[in-house]
Amino acid sequence: AELEVTHWWTSAGEAAAIAEFAKVFEEETGNTWVDSALAGSGTGANPVIISRIIGGDPMGATQMNTGRDAEELIQAGLMRDLTDIVADLDIDSFYVDQSLLEPCRYEGGLYCLPINIHSWDWLWLSTAAYEKIGQPVPTNWDEYVASWPALQEAGILPFALGTGWPINGIPGVLMAGIGGTDLVMQVNRDKSADAVRGPDFRKVAEAMDMLRSVVSPETMVPSFGDAGNQLLTGDAAGNIHGDWLQGDLQIAGGVPGEDYECLPALGLGTQLTGGGDSFYFPVLPEGTDPAVIEAQEQLARILISPEAQLKFNLVKGSMPIRTDIDLSGANACMTKALALLDNGLLPSGDFSLSSDTQKQLEDLNLEFIADDNITVDDYVERYASIIEQAD
């Protein structure tokens, strides 16, 4: 049977990764993977996916962010309950962290399957840049910040940044690294505005302020991939971005440890915040070929199978959702991450906050970075009020 799968993985690395899923799926089940790729994630693909599900023309399976995007679709009964399908797999046993499955559960049912873990908590540093100024590559955030004046002196951009959404993950990373685990828990899980107004978060805000002093619209590059390039050439010294940046760095020929360094949790923390991607299986309309419905089930099981997980994540550059597989092929950076995974995951913003709240925070961050007139106090206050209103 043909199973249509929608996703927004259209770049070279992403497409190669999802091709692994497709390959395994087609080889093992004899079904056909009909690929519907839509560039542009949140604003490009999301409306189409949602409207197709609402419009009664659902796809067989779709990728979405792990989180609360599909909450209401689940509540409206538009997503298929996967409990029985994966019942015999005992998924609780092998998922790295139970919190990953949390958003998928609703009134006792299981409606999605996380297929990877992405973490934003990485500080990427350029070996070439530090060679130029003759300093060792920093080993944590504080050293990194301390090296900025020298970098600027040498005409090197201390912090590379792509325009638009890449700014979005940075406060979370700073929060985890500088503010610590408790702060993340209080803000993201408990939605405590007091915590935001507290001294710990203030440090985070000040760090943002410092970042703002070294980035300006003129220095920003069109996409985060370009920022990665700046690191490899030594035009810029550092960047905070999710682990998927590595895919690009590697495709561009970068070797971890030689051309670039990676510091998980800014080299300060012991836990990563994690989010990732999930697959949902919409309820197909009545009269659908039973073979397609069965193909849904087969795909669901394959996505979390060790074989597919391994192949997919190695290409994608993300961490698998299960640790019971051989990751000897993982590179230096991922190995570091895997080590931290043992300490459990912290709930990331896109994990525990609604997309509405995330959108507001994104707007705030964008504005803050671009507009020096917004003081740190303003920032804290506005952040707090958004968290206050979050549901």
């Binding site: 999301n46 949602i50 209401e72 619209p217 959108k359 209103q389």
Partner: protein, 312 residues
């Protein structure tokens, strides 16, 4: 005379006045049937959706519409959001500049084209072709041209003119002008065609009269001809205006609202919150404000156009 008698008796039974029902439905029946798609569109889509929009803007609907009313909360939040306020300001700034410049440049070019220039059709095609391209394409190519490193600025700097700066796209104060350059590029040609049509529609004898009166050409254009082109101006303003209010694709393709939030526009806010943010209530509150604005602008126009005199 017998005929007259029968005629008169028929008169009594003949319908003197058609009843209400037949007047409402049977009269022009096929016309009404033919206009059904329009009536349905108007009632269901435009009126219906407007009501729907306003209705749900008072709820706290998220991804799906739901009937939990929250009064004016969404509006309160809307106007407490700096991005929305920036969007509104941008729309007003961009809108007024774009409207004025499109009309003036369109008129200016039309006037130039009206001077019996050679290769008129070549010039016309050159000015009009961008109108055939989507805003996505427009945004893309101008983004490329205005890209500080790869575009004009980079090129000139590489050529040794290191002081050359053309970074509007990444300069929050200038980014609206970057939008304007691309927007005008796309839209001026069509406006020019409209204006040209209007100019050509002006009575030849008016021109002669003005020449005999010794009115300089430019003065004739400004004082006599332009005020005569009301019909064209209305059409042009409707078309340009609706484009401005709906401005979305160009911003997404060219700046995606950046740098920061300096080039955000209302339609993008609506879209981002309805779909990206999964907050229909918020998106619809913003949409309702846009509709209200349009209504305020349109009502005087509609009154002028259809009210008052019974002109067609």
């Amino acid at each position: 005379m017998a005929d007259v008698a029968t005629q008169q008796s028929r008169t009594k039974t003949a319908p003197h006045r058609r009843n209400f029902f037949s007047k409402l439905f049977l009269h022009n029946l096929s016309a009404k049937i033919a206009a059904l798609p329009m009536i349905a569109t108007v009632l269901v889509i435009f009126v219906g959706c407007t009501i729907w929009t306003v209705y749900y803007s008072f709820t706290n609907s998220r991804l799906l519409p739901r009937n939990e009313f929250v009064g004016f909360d969404q509006y309160a939040r809307l106007f407490g959001t700096s991005r929305w306020n920036v969007s509104i300001t941008n729309l007003i700034m961009y809108g007024s500049m774009s409207l004025v410049l499109t009309l003036t440049l369109g008129f200016l070019l039309a006037v130039l084209m009206d001077q019996k220039v050679r290769f008129e059709s070549a010039f016309r095609t050159i000015m009009l072709y961008p109108f055939a391209l989507s805003f996505i394409v427009t945004g893309l190519v101008w983004q490329w041209i205005m890209n500080p490193t790869l575009g004009l600025q980079g090129t000139f700097r590489n050529l040794g003119w290191t002081g050359f700066t053309f970074d509007w796209i990444s300069n929050p104060r200038m980014v609206l002008f970057a939008l304007l350059i691309a927007g005008l590029w796309q839209g001026v040609g069509f406006c020019m065609i409209l204006m040209l049509a209007g100019l050509r529609g002006v009575d030849e004898e008016i021109w002669k009269a003005a020449r005999v009166d010794g009115i300089p050409t430019w003065r004739t254009y400004v004082s006599v001809v332009l005020p005569m082109m009301r019909g064209v101006l209305v059409t042009a303003v409707v078309i340009i205006g609706s484009g401005i209010v709906r401005l979305y694709d160009l911003v997404v393709a060219l700046t995606n609202g950046g740098p920061g939030i300096s080039s955000e526009v209302p339609a993008k806010y609506v879209y981002d919150y309805m779909f990206g943010g999964g907050n229909i209530g918020q998106g619809l509150a913003a949409a309702s404000m846009m509709l209200l604005t349009v209504l305020i602008i349109m009502i005087p126009w509609a009154y002028l156009e259809f009210g008052g005199k019974g002109r067609r």
